[in-house]
Symmetry: C2
Subunit: 218 residues, 2 copies
């Protein structure tokens, strides 16, 4: 196997942390000051010890019999996820999915600041969508170098994904958030995170299938 790089935190834990944040922001709205692992675990159907171990990754220290400070926990999780700093991003491919992402304001809470979008379709170029300018993809190399862009979001079709990734790499992007169902080839110092909705659909339908056959055999 060729695991590109070894990151310190277990990935299952990293995947759970954002969901804790959801519960916590709700509690903050309800003006709760403290929360226990048990409470979070019950909300999310998880094991309290698992929650505690995950939270420990962020460096938080709790009080016995009380739990953790909700506000402090939010701050610590955000810091751990790298959501305490704003990162400038560009998005390439202003189609159905790209447009939806541009309109999703919540990403700002996670430090994601989409400064410009690109497309190659003349009908989409030189418009403004949800306050973000859409430029011709030809202007990408120039802009990405001029402004300091951390993250590139790929929402073009799979056939164009690699060429878009290449442009981003040339612009010294640090991370790529890839929604196209395509394995990208990038240098070792560029971090790629693939989002594949089909994975999630597969988990759902295969569970449904297993459940159905399970019932039949009982």
């Amino acid at each position: 196997m060729r695991k590109i790089r070894k990151f310190s935190a277990p990935e299952p834990s990293m995947r759970r942390l954002p969901t804790y944040l959801h519960v916590l922001t709700r509690l903050l709205r309800e003006n709760r000051l403290y929360v226990s692992c048990t409470f979070i675990a019950n909300e999310l159907y998880l094991d309290p010890t698992q929650v505690r171990k995950d939270l420990a990754l962020t460096g938080i220290v709790g009080k016995p019999r009380v739990g953790y400070s909700v506000q402090e926990l939010i701050d610590k999780i955000k810091a751990f996820l790298g959501w305490d700093v704003q990162r400038d991003a560009i998005l390439v491919g202003v189609g159905n999915l790209g447009t939806a992402l541009l309109g999703y304001q919540r990403f700002r809470l996670y430090g994601l600041n989409i400064v410009t979008a690109f497309d190659k379709d003349p009908r989409r170029i030189d418009k403004t969508i949800f306050g973000v300018d859409v430029l011709s993809v030809e202007k990408l190399p120039n802009l990405i170098l001029r402004k300091k862009i951390d993250i590139g979001i790929i929402t073009v079709g799979e056939e164009a994904a690699q060429e878009v990734a290449d442009l981003m790499v040339q612009g010294f992007i640090k991370g790529i958030w890839n929604f196209a169902p395509k394995t990208l080839i990038v240098p070792d110092d560029v971090i790629v995170e693939n989002v594949q909705l089909s994975v999630s659909l597969g988990v759902l339908t295969s569970k449904m299938k297993l459940f159905e056959t399970e019932k039949d055999t009982v």
Copy 2:
């Protein structure tokens, strides 16, 4: 911990299967008849043994020195994921994300057939989007019972997600694909799969952060 139900296949494997399918459909387009684990593993930066174990879940049998039949492998994976049967689905919340999902034709390849969409906003109701009728959410309970609907897709805001889920449950839905950042409370026989894009963004940014600090300390 309270794990609702125990499913036979390891979830990490289930999550990898759809990505294999991607490589395989490309190979099919290129008219390749056979493929080895080694090849798939190289494409996806995985370990060949891991790929072999995953594929074994589907019941496929390979030929030494040759590999697996591409077509047969595709069929077996699809069957395992429950993508060999069409499932009727409804989508509730025709906003930015809901619209994008309605326009994504590839889901049909995975057996997902979105027959009707619902919203509560009068401006969206009684229109047709990507060939799918959008009805008032009031008509949901009636329609869901009349037609046999397997899957409910939730793309409303988090504040409305639970009430929409309740409507679906009353309509005897079997599975819910939930895009709202909210833990849904449903009976044991309804399978919920949550999609949270923030999870994926968190993995990306935390890796970027760790990578940056790693470089600093070298």
